[in-house]
Every structure is written in structure tokens, then in C-alpha cells.
């Protein structure tokens, strides 16, 4: 057998291996991983702290399988920082031969942050991630606030807010509403974390107090605490 024919034998062998691999993958299912997590509240402030609660984390999903996790909480009160009730977190995920995905949702009602600086009748965070023949995607459809008030500004009814809406809270820091943190390449992987209310507490550190004016000169703003209400994460990837 000469070099030329050997070349074609190698090509055919490689092509056969490719066909076998692809067929095997189709039978065995998709080469995907899925992840999900949801929690209603998180507080880490000088006033007090509370871990991610109630926390639902998607168990490992393998093969053509699926799973669900949920957690319920009645009420939370970190005095001066956050009070809320009807706390619920749910996450689920699946891997199939045609598609793989995860979806998470969390909610909190009667939300009161920093003694009324931010209030809402209800907050719902809802995300989904999916991968299939058309690629990978994530979205936060269904994430809304009900009767939200931030520093005196009100939004009546059940409404969405533009992603990553930043509102200054003078003397306190700032809040990001509908904070969205995407991951993945949108082709084989995609993920999204949504924090419906994310308060960043800030303090001026390192400045010099002018004894005459009472003003602080210089210094830098540093984040000294945070409060999150309504967090949901979903992801799918290779």
C-alpha cells in the first residue's frame, strides 16, 4: 500500500470514528452540566447578619436525569436592616437528549430594608437557562417588584425594572435593582444570576475631618455591608 492510499485509509478511519462518536453522544444524551440556586434574603451589615435564607441548591444532575430543591421560610427580621415574610426558594434542572436546562425562583413579601428606606409588597426573582439545538440562552423573565419604594420614589403595581438599575442612597451607599450577572458564551453555555434588590452599604474611610466645617476631606468610599433580597441563579454548560 502506497503513501497516498494510506492517507485515505487514515481519513476514512478518522471519519468513521467521528460518526461513531456523534452517534454515541446522541444515544447517551447531551454533554451538559446544569446548576441552580435560589434564596430570598441575605444580610451582612454592622447592624446584624443573616445567611442566605431559605436556600435551595440544585443537587448534581447526571445522565438524562432531573432534580428539584426547594426551601420555605416564614419570616425574617434583622433589626434595623431587613424584615420580610413569605420567603420561598425553588430550583430545578434537567439533562435530556434534546435539551438541558435549569430554572430558579425566589420570593419575599412585606420587604422593609433599613427602616423603610426601601420597601416592597413583594419581590420575585425568576431565571432560566437552557441549551439545545439552537444554542444556549438565559433570561430573567418573570422577575418583578410589587409596589416598590426606594428612598421615597415609588413604583406602583407589579412591574419589572431595567436590569442593573443603580439608585444612590445618600449617606448609606447605593442599591442595584434587578442586578443581573450573566455567564457563558451563549453557544454551548449560559448562566444568569439575578439579585432583585442588592444594597451596598458604604462608608468613607481614611478621610480627615475639618474641625471648622465639620466636613471630611479625602478618603475613599468602601463597602461595609450588603443586603440582598430575591436572588436566583441558573446555568447550563458543557
Amino acid at each position: 500500500m502506497n503513501d497516498k492510499s494510506m492517507h485515505w485509509v487514515n481519513r476514512l478511519a478518522a471519519l468513521g470514528l467521528v460518526v461513531g462518536l456523534v452517534a454515541g453522544l446522541a444515544v447517551a444524551g447531551s454533554a451538559q452540566s446544569v446548576g441552580g440556586q435560589a434564596y430570598s434574603t441575605y444580610v451582612n451589615t454592622p447592624l446584624g447578619s443573616s445567611s442566605q435564607s431559605p436556600l435551595a441548591v440544585l443537587p448534581a444532575v447526571t445522565g438524562t436525569d432531573g432534580a428539584e430543591a426547594d426551601a420555605e421560610g416564614s419570616a425574617l427580621n434583622v433589626v434595623g436592616a431587613l424584615s420580610s415574610d413569605f420567603l420561598n426558594s425553588i430550583t430545578s434542572g434537567e439533562i435530556g437528549t434534546a435539551e438541558a436546562g435549569a430554572q430558579s425562583t425566589s420570593s419575599a413579601a412585606s420587604v422593609n430594608i433599613l427602616n423603610g428606606l426601601i420597601t416592597a409588597d413583594e419581590v420575585v426573582a425568576n431565571v432560566m437557562s437552557s441549551a439545545g439545538q439552537s444554542g444556549a440562552l438565559s433570561d430573567a423573565a418573570g422577575s418583578t417588584f410589587t409596589n416598590l419604594t426606594v428612598a421615597g420614589q415609588s413604583l406602583s403595581g407589579d412591574q419589572a425594572v431595567a436590569p442593573n438599575t443603580n439608585v444612590s442612597l445618600p449617606g448609606v451607599g447605593y442599591v442595584v435593582l434587578n442586578e443581573q450577572i450573566p455567564t457563558g458564551d451563549g453557544v454551548t453555555s449560559s448562566g444568569l444570576t439575578v439579585n432583585m434588590i442588592h444594597v451596598y452599604l458604604q462608608s468613607l474611610v481614611g478621610g480627615i475631618l475639618n474641625p471648622i466645617t465639620g466636613q471630611t476631606l479625602g478618603g475613599t468610599l468602601q463597602t461595609t455591608g450588603e443586603i440582598i433580597v430575591g436572588s436566583a441563579t441558573s446555568s447550563v454548560g458543557p
Binding site: 438524562t64 420561598n88 435539551e99 425568576n126
Partner: protein, 234 residues
């Protein structure tokens, strides 16, 4: 583990080998490739059915509402019946998540082998939970029967958990109560982009047995505001 490893590296390896077979030059395109291994889902059926999903619905109690899945609500067996059954319509926000594995018993009857269903009714701050292990409803000790059928729209398949002859028993919080319930979902975008908002969910509940508590109503079959329903096992 071996299978997992092969699957993880499969697409990249396949792409590399394909380049060797078809060209004397190596493939230098570093852009991510779309997965080539997805297959068209076969018809959904009971014995190997696995259903998972979650999200949110906003039922309005109005059949003419854009998010009411009128076309798929009538089931071929009459179970579930047209909403609201029981009256009234549940309206407002409902969030949920679930995972259900189906099997058939000796009588070839479809039932839930294992499953978890969580439904939160936000208007009345109620959380329902159904837990099924080894074919038995944790809160009643009974089997939970199911039904899978092609929907009327021809877009996909629907699943009913807790068929009408026995329904199923959900825990109701707050208060650790119990209530009779039925759950229905439709996967209407099988093998297609999953943000079509054509998947649907319906929740029915009523305290029909002695000692049960909880709100009475029916959401009607309602398109998801967000989330996804996936039949991934047949």
C-alpha cells in the same frame, strides 16, 4: 466517570478528528462551536417519562387573556376538566418548581415513581408541597397516578399529576396542613428555543377530605411568565 469524561470532551475531539479527515490543514477557527449532538425529542410517554421545570404563572381568570392556554386546556380524557374546577379561578402570582419520574404498574397504569412539586400561591401566601417516593405520596400514603398526552395545539405534550380518580395530597404551609390537589404542565417547545413562553402550568386545589385546609381554586392552564417546562426522559 468514563462516560462522563467522554461526553465532556466528545464535541471538541469530534471536531478535531473531522478536520483531520476532511482537510490537510488543521482547523484553526477558535470560535465556540454549536453543539452538534442534540437530537429531536421522541414522543413523550409514560413509562420512561421524566419531567422537570419551574417558573412563574400569572393567571387572570380570563379565558381571553393572552397568557391563557385555551387550546390545550381541554384534555382528551376530560381530566382535568375545563377551568375553573373547582371554582373560583386562582388569580395573581404563582411560582413553582418540580421534578417527576413516571412508571407503569402491573396493571399498566401510569403513576409517579418519585417526584417533588412545590407551588407558591402568592395572593394568599400559601406554599404547597407534594413529595412522592417509591411510588407513594408522603402526605397520604397513596399512589399518585399520572397521565401523559399530546396536546391539542400539536406543539407538544402535557402531563397531569394526580389524576381525578385519586388526585394527590399536598402539604400546605404555613400550618403543616393537608389539601387535595392536581398539577398539570405542558411542554410546548420541545427541541426548540426554550424562551417561547408557550409552556404552561395549571394548579387545582381544594380541601375535600376531612381535616384538610387551604384555599380552593383553579389557575386554569396558563402560559409561563418565566421559567421552563422540559420533558426529558422518553
Amino acid at each position: 466517570m468514563l462516560t462522563h469524561t467522554i461526553l465532556r470532551f466528545g464535541p471538541g475531539l469530534a471536531a478535531g478528528l473531522l478536520a483531520v479527515a476532511c482537510s490537510d490543514r488543521p482547523n484553526v477557527n477558535m470560535a465556540p462551536k454549536r453543539p452538534s449532538f442534540w437530537v429531536t425529542p421522541p414522543p413523550a410517554q409514560c413509562p420512561t417519562g421524566k419531567w422537570t421545570g419551574g417558573g412563574r404563572i400569572d393567571p387572570t381568570g380570563t379565558r381571553t387573556a393572552a397568557n391563557y392556554d385555551n387550546v390545550d386546556e381541554p384534555s382528551p380524557t376530560g381530566d382535568p376538566p375545563p377551568a375553573p374546577e373547582p371554582a373560583p379561578y386562582f388569580t395573581g402570582k404563582f411560582t413553582f418548581g418540580f421534578n417527576v419520574f413516571l412508571a407503569t404498574n402491573a396493571a399498566n397504569r401510569c403513576f409517579v415513581q418519585k417526584g417533588e412539586i412545590e407551588v407558591n400561591g402568592h395572593p394568599f401566601k400559601v406554599a404547597w408541597h407534594v413529595s412522592i417516593h417509591d411510588g407513594v405520596d408522603t402526605f397520604s400514603g397513596d399512589s399518585v397516578f399520572a397521565n401523559v398526552f399530546a396536546d391539542n395545539s400539536g406543539r407538544g405534550f402535557c402531563l397531569v399529576v394526580g389524576t381525578a380518580d385519586a388526585f394527590m395530597t399536598a402539604r400546605v404551609n404555613p400550618g403543616q396542613g393537608r389539601e387535595t390537589a392536581q398539577f398539570e404542565v405542558c411542554d410546548n417547545d420541545r427541541g426548540k428555543p426554550q424562551n417561547s413562553r408557550t409552556d404552561a402550568m395549571r394548579w387545582r386545589a381544594a380541601p375535600i377530605h376531612s381535616g384538610e385546609t387551604g384555599p380552593t381554586g383553579d389557575t386554569g392552564l396558563t402560559y409561563l411568565t418565566g421559567g421552563n417546562i422540559v420533558e426529558h426522559g422518553s
